[in-house]
């Protein structure tokens, strides 16, 4: 037997492309957040509400990722935001090359903020760097307070946690403190926002944070 020693990262190609994306964004001063969650946690609703709140103060763009349909892109486009939809046709996560292709079709003129809405999945998107400044994991109260313990990798790899649908807490079996403790046990540095797209709770704080583009606090 002869041996070839190579010591290469399996995801090196993705990581290199992600780094190229990151440089593109940094040169233009664009703040990029990669939104991850299970399906139905409310990522698109959060974007809609965020764009209403940010109207006139900050220009944003969106890259949408879904297994099928451009329904999310249609929703977001109503807010006058440049948007490109990636349809993965089965793949359960976005990769840096897909984001790069989407970037070619986006008009970044005046854009300060880019949201990449990943495919709804609490497992695979955790492994892939897309070139974002931070991953934001969205968890809704209807999913239960044990989700961070069940899908720890996503919480470990995220910098922010949005707890969504907090208006539903009286009706669902979710203890907000337990949820936060479970998440912080995995990642004590997580910055947490408690929000509701229905009541608008938490959106002023969230949008103020976005306007600061405070990467250093992550």
């Amino acid at each position: 037997m002869s041996v070839i020693t190579i010591e290469r990262k399996v995801l090196e190609k993705n990581d290199q492309l992600a780094q190229r994306n990151r440089l593109f964004f940094e040169e233009r001063g664009i703040f990029v957040l990669n939104l991850v969650s299970s399906p139905g946690a409310g990522k698109t609703s959060i974007l809609e509400k965020t764009f209403l709140e940010l109207r006139g103060s900050m220009r944003a763009a969106v890259i949408e990722g879904d297994v099928q349909t451009d329904l999310d892109a249609q929703r977001v486009a109503k807010y006058g935001v440049p948007v490109v939809q990636i349809v993965t046709l089965g793949a359960c996560h976005l990769e840096a090359n897909l984001v790069q292709d989407a970037m070619r079709n986006l008009d970044f003129t005046g854009v300060e903020l880019l949201f990449i809405e990943n495919v709804g999945n609490l497992v695979c998107p955790a492994s892939y760097d897309l070139g974002e400044q931070a991953k934001v994991v969205v968890l809704s109260t209807t999913e239960g307070d044990d989700k961070p313990l069940k899908y720890p990798s996503m919480f470990l790899n995220s910098s922010l946690l949005i707890i969504n649908k907090i208006d539903l807490i009286p009706y669902v079996n979710c203890d907000l403190n337990r949820l936060k403790n479970n998440a912080l046990q995995i990642n004590p540095k997580l910055r947490i926002f408690e929000m509701s797209c229905t009541t608008g709770a938490g959106f002023p704080e969230w949008c103020n944070w976005l306007k600061k583009k405070d990467v250093s606090s992550l």
Binding site: M1, I4, I6, R8, K9, K13, V123, L184, Q185, I186
Partner: protein, 120 residues
């Protein structure tokens, strides 16, 4: 869940690293998989053996080394293994930790059969 994509990446890297006339001789591919990499070794093994069927690498097998999650406390310098994803120092309860290992997903080396081995 994305082990198939990972298996395809491994195949690509091996094909790039081994001269084309030697790909048939590849027998082993040593992989390091961290406990927190999000990769299930059995599933990766299954996906890899499925995609090499129609390639020159069909006699290659993955040798997967699992790497435990190790951490060092930045407050008291205690080194310990992370269990149940609790990122708190068991000695001083600090949460200011440095991750030493556990996120690996790397190809370490490739084993090739020599001409003499082929006869066996």
């Amino acid at each position: 869940m994305h082990e198939l994509a990972i298996a395809q990446n491994i195949l690509e890297i091996v094909q790039q690293s081994v001269p084309e006339n030697q790909t048939k001789s590849v027998r082993g591919i040593r992989i390091r998989v961290g406990q927190m990499s999000g990769i299930v070794p059995d599933s990766l093994d299954f996906c890899f053996s499925a995609i090499i069927n129609d390639t020159h690498l069909q006699r290659a097998r993955l040798a997967i080394e699992q790497v435990p999650t190790l951490s060092q406390c930045k407050t008291c310098a205690h080194r310990f293994g992370i269990e149940d994803w609790v990122f708190t120092c068991p000695v001083c309860q600090s949460t200011n930790l440095e991750l030493i290992s556990g996120k690996e997903l790397e190809i370490v080396e490739i084993e090739l059969a020599d001409e003499g081995d082929e006869a066996i």
